[in-house]
């Protein structure tokens, strides 16, 4: 029993950490694609982990069977949604600013004291 309880705590903790990472990433990352990446971590990893943690904590009931179905749908659908969003952005002409990053690196290298 204590193993299950520990496992549940572990899932909840990791899920919480991923939620927090996603939120920070959504606020702090520089452009659309990186922010989308951060948001998708929350959707496809943190939420299922939190639900698994709750299921382990409360024991297996009819409700947890429903929750497992929700997890399956989430795990399948949220990466797909992220993919569709990303594709739509790319088709809409929103290019990832790789150029700027290289430029930034070059600038940084130039700034470094020799």
């Amino acid at each position: 029993m204590i193993i299950i309880s520990l496992l549940s705590d572990f899932c909840l903790l990791i899920g919480g950490i991923f939620t927090l990472t996603g939120a920070v990433g959504l606020l702090r990352l520089p452009n659309f694609y990186t922010r989308l990446h951060a948001a998708s971590v929350t959707e496809s990893l943190a939420a299922p982990l939190l639900i698994i943690g709750i299921i382990l904590d409360t024991g297996f009931t009819l409700d947890s069977a429903k929750l497992i179905i929700i997890i399956i749908i989430m795990v399948v659908s949220s990466p797909t949604i992220t993919h569709a969003l990303c594709r739509a952005a790319a088709h809409g002409g929103y290019a990832p600013d790789m150029q700027k990053k290289k430029q930034r690196q070059a600038d940084n290298r130039a700034k470094e004291p020799k």
Partner: protein, 323 residues
């Protein structure tokens, strides 16, 4: 502890609503505003869920967040994504808004406290409905009993309103046509994932339709869910294929058929010398008569809503000939 938690959740959700409204007013990108209103609907659905109004929350999530957002996005394709900014500030407008807001806030002072057992709602009609549902209709979900039987007139009116909204859009925009070339590019990931999900959505729609007597759900929600499966199909696979499955021409007929089923169910009880929409007449046993009546009426509502929603989607997303 639980009380405080409830309060915390309510305050959080309501504050979120206010923030979303301010963000939606501030942006001049109409896509962003549409998405914000979708989020607004979802948060409202959560609030309803917190108030234990599961049926209302369900409708809000399906209609407000799902269908309205798709419609607004389709409409934006016709209008363009940015607002024409006019920096004209009207003092009169501000005055009217402040006055209306103050009047509304003043009005809330007369409200009974939330959950007050002595308020008028809880003293007169609600206990009667709860008791009569057990005695006369014998289904677990009181909301469905009230919606389909006790206030069948109102629901009939609502169904007619939905139908006439579809007819109005049809008159204004026409059915729209699909240019064969303008199909979305075939995307393998989306196609593979969406195929089984559409099947699940359709099954869920049927479940919501026929399980409305026992749990949350009913014709309105089921119609929207069923239509959303077709909308999803047309977004991913292309609208011309959807129009082969359900041609636009039969949709107005289906919507009219839904209203007709509702009306005929009402008229049938007139034949047996009972009032309009009194389902007791439909069977020798009044309780099973109520069950039959509710089933038929919900089927009519579901059909009308499904056909109207899909019709409006076709009208907005198709290429219009009378542009």
């Amino acid at each position: 502890m639980i009380e405080n938690l409830h309060l915390l959740i309510n305050v959080f959700l309501l504050a979120f609503l206010v923030l979303i409204v301010f963000a939606a007013i501030n942006t001049n990108n109409l896509f962003v505003a549409t998405m914000l209103f979708g989020i607004f609907s979802f948060v409202t659905a959560l609030l309803f869920l917190d108030l234990d109004a599961v049926d209302v929350a369900f409708t809000e999530a399906a209609v407000g967040a799902g269908f309205t957002t798709v419609l607004m996005l389709s409409a934006l394709r016709l209008t363009g994504a940015f607002e024409n900014v006019k920096h004209r500030q009207s003092v009169l407008g501000l005055f009217i808004v402040v006055l209306t807001g103050a009047a509304l806030i003043y009005g809330t002072a007369d409200f009974p406290r939330m959950g007050d057992p002595n308020s008028a709602v809880h003293l007169n009609l609600a206990p009667e409905f709860i008791q009569l549902t057990q005695e006369k209709i014998d289904i677990p979900n009181v909301v469905t009993a009230v919606l389909a039987s006790f206030r069948g007139y109102d629901t009939f009116g609502e169904t007619v309103v939905v139908f006439s909204a579809g007819v109005a859009v049809l008159l204004l925009l026409g059915m729209g046509q699909v240019e064969p070339k303008k199909e979305p590019e075939q995307n393998v990931v989306l196609r593979i994932v969406v195929k089984p999900i559409i099947a699940l959505i359709l099954i869920f729609g049927l479940y919501v339709q026929f399980h409305g007597d026992f749990g949350a759900g009913g014709g309105f929600q089921a119609g929207v869910i069923f239509a959303s499966a077709f909308i999803l199909y047309s977004l991913v696979f292309g609208e011309s294929y959807t129009r082969k499955v359900i041609p636009a021409a039969i949709l107005p007929r289906l919507a009219a058929l839904g209203v007709l089923i509702y009306g005929v169910t009402g008229l049938a009880s007139l034949l047996f010398d009972k009032p309009f929409l009194d389902y007791n007449a439909l069977s020798s046993n009044p309780v099973s008569g109520q069950h039959t009546g509710i089933l038929l009426v919900e089927a009519g509502v579901g059909l009308a809503v499904f056909a109207t929603v899909l019709l409006i989607f076709y009208s907005f997303s198709g290429v219009n000939h009378n542009e």
